[in-house]
Subunit: 424 residues, 2 copies
């Protein structure tokens, strides 16, 4: 019992910080998710240090090895945060029918492809020659600029009540394809850094596996749910449809992660597969309390990883700001170009919505650091870029939607009880 008292206390402090921040930011008419990220940055180990310290009971489990206990706490936070973002994307998936995504499939693919090419080419092309870094460093910076962390955007779009808009559907579809492309680029980059060459067979196998997984789940899975979903009520277990949906969420998240995709891609696909059965079994209504309990942990814990000290180093900060600007600009231009033909607001919303790099950029940079391909200051640059692209997106997206008369959300709608479930 003793060893988890500290962890329970941490979970309480994280949830408390999330709720206080959400309240303050709602009152300031700012996106609560920004409040949760900043609250995490404030209480995290790099600032006030309210969370993340293993207690004596936990340290005793590791025979007094404080470093091991700290790693354990990190792994636990990671898992809790991951469960939060898995539930978030599962929930968003429940609100997204396969047909709605397929209808914007061509456009989403274009957004994903251009949104990957533009940052990579410009990141790679400018960082090396202009800033005097080695080619392998430039490759890693380019790769870290590619990936989109769709959790932030999905949360903001849901908070704004516009998750069913055409822009949201394009962003969600593009995020799935983007993750597959990012994984392929990561495989190429990792190959370059370790062996100096790229195994076409290896990269091809990874790509085929990811595409097959996605296509199989989307087409076969939704067909199975459409055909056999009604029979779920024949199961005797308590509330079988919801239990099977949650089971699918966990299963596809684990499977997706085990083939190298993000776990949230599997969770999103699981939600989408069950979107057909959503209304009949009130899946979304039942998933909402789990969302409200677990999702804040993702944002506060993500925020708690912000290392403020990085911002104090002038040399790193200058380069980081330049790279951040480039990261935002290239997604805006790449994804925006893919949206030509839409109103300028839709172009801007998709361009901005695809911009957060979040933890995905960090994974690439961590790999580069671990392989010795990039020095720690370049790692710091990527960390700052990931933080800033993540923090800047929610207010801009909110501003873009608030300026749009068709999508304006009145404060009354949000405050009413029905506003809690705007999509039901």
């Amino acid at each position: 019992m003793n060893e988890i008292v500290g962890l329970l206390y941490d979970l309480f402090v994280i949830f408390l910080a999330a709720k206080v921040a959400a309240e303050v930011f709602e009152r300031l008419q700012q996106p609560p998710v920004i409040g949760e990220l900043l609250a995490g940055a404030l209480i995290g180990p790099h600032a006030l240090g309210f969370i993340g310290k293993p207690d004596p009971g936990l340290i005793a489990l590791f025979g007094g090895d404080v470093a091991a206990a700290e790693e354990a706490v990190k792994a636990i936070y990671h898992l809790v945060a991951e469960l939060g973002v898995i539930v978030l994307l599962f929930f968003v998936g429940l609100e997204t029918r396969v047909a709605d995504i397929l209808r914007v499939g061509g456009r989403a693919t274009l957004v994903a492809v251009l949104g990957v090419i533009a940052p990579f080419v410009l990141g790679f092309g400018l960082v090396g020659p202009l800033l005097g870094h080695s080619q392998i460093e430039a490759v890693f910076v380019g790769a870290a600029m590619v990936a989109t962390s769709v959790g932030i955007t999905a949360r903001v779009l849901r908070d704004l009540g516009v998750i069913a808009s055409v822009e949201s559907r394009i962003i969600l579809g593009a995020a799935v394809i983007d993750d597959i492309l990012a994984m392929i680029i990561l495989a190429i980059v990792a190959g370059l850094a370790t062996t100096g060459s790229v195994s076409v067979l290896h990269v091809g196998a990874i790509a085929v596996q990811a595409v097959l997984f996605t296509v199989f789940v989307v087409l076969i899975g939704s067909g199975v749910v459409r055909r056999f979903g009604l029979r779920l009520n024949a199961l005797r277990m308590d509330n079988a449809p919801f239990a099977v949906a949650l089971l699918t969420m966990l299963g596809l998240a684990a499977l997706s992660a085990s083939i190298g995709l993000a776990a949230i891609i599997g969770a999103f696909l699981a939600g989408m597969v069950f979107a057909e059965a959503n209304e009949r079994f009130e899946l979304e209504q039942q998933a909402l309390p789990i969302y409200q309990f677990l999702v804040p942990f993702f944002f506060v814990i993500t925020g708690s990883q912000v290392n403020w000290r990085l911002f104090l180093d002038g040399g790193i900060l200058g380069l980081a700001l330049a790279i951040t600007g480039l990261a935002l600009l290239t997604k805006l231009v790449g994804c925006g170009a893919a949206m030509l033909g839409y109103r300028w607001r839709s172009v801007a919303i998709v361009g901005v919505g695809m911009a957060p790099r979040g933890e995905v950029g960090l994974i690439v940079a961590s790999l580069g650091l671990a392989l010795g391909a990039i020095p720690s200051e370049v790692f710091g640059v990527v960390v700052i870029m990931s933080i800033l692209t993540t923090l800047v997106v929610p207010p801009v997206l909110r501003w873009l939607y608030a300026r749009d008369p068709e999508c304006a959300i009145s404060e009354e709608d949000r405050a009413s009880p029905a506003g809690l479930l705007p999509e039901l």
Copy 2:
């Protein structure tokens, strides 16, 4: 990302095992909770070993130290299970008004006191003299026989739809007092084992702290909710009443654990405090999906700790069966005697409902083992006693209620959609 793929897979396997077992046991007309416990025992590290193995990514986090990674996995399971049982008792608390518990307060106190005295005195009195163990060993066996693990009983009573019955309320009230008494006995026993004497001041301080915590939360907390609960809607954050209830659950669970009580006692009190606001804010309805997601983890993970090999040692098994019989008999007699005046079925339900020792007995035994006060075979005896008292209770409780015409639960009630929420 890589380091938690294995953990995600474990969570999936645990949830899958829980749901398959629940389905099978529902069809066999047996309590699903027994299915979940046995499923855990089957897939756990002591049997098939489907869960609990850290994957290479996690091991790498600990610099290749497999033992440390295994400890981390155990700590993670422990936390996930604890969250499950916290949500379970919070939910049960939401269904329990303070006034309902106070109305049976005298009887619940008597049940708790006699239910602690009988096992301790007989455990201590018989184990030492009759079986030739030392006095300190007998003290630890007696102490391990004292504590009630109310999670199992609460789950069975809820599954049967009788959580509001007078027997259930007596059991819940008695469980809170039982936990305080068990904690006091643990403090005394630990004192005897470490210094050979008991500090009356220390034990008194612990007791006063626990009693003050409970009384303060119950009386002041429910008063605050009754008085200010309505104003929760004035908060701007999304679904504030539910968020504040969850926050209170986490906070009181952590506080309760940090003063040496079980975390679930705090969670139960938190639920009970919000029972007044339950209907208005639909708290129970919202907590139910979280219950359905997290509670199965507690039972499967608890089951996974069953070490079958202990049952193969004839010497240990014989003693363990004797101690198990004594543990069941003493609770039945002690708690039953406190119920004199009620119908025999009520007497039996309370006596049986207070019998599961679950993890609480294990904590006492682990402490004894760690302090060198008991040898490993006595530890094994207590482990078997904890397992058997836990496994035997659900079917007996179900049988007792099924025999009771006033409380009989028809299969139709359970299968109907409304049966999912029998108490709303």
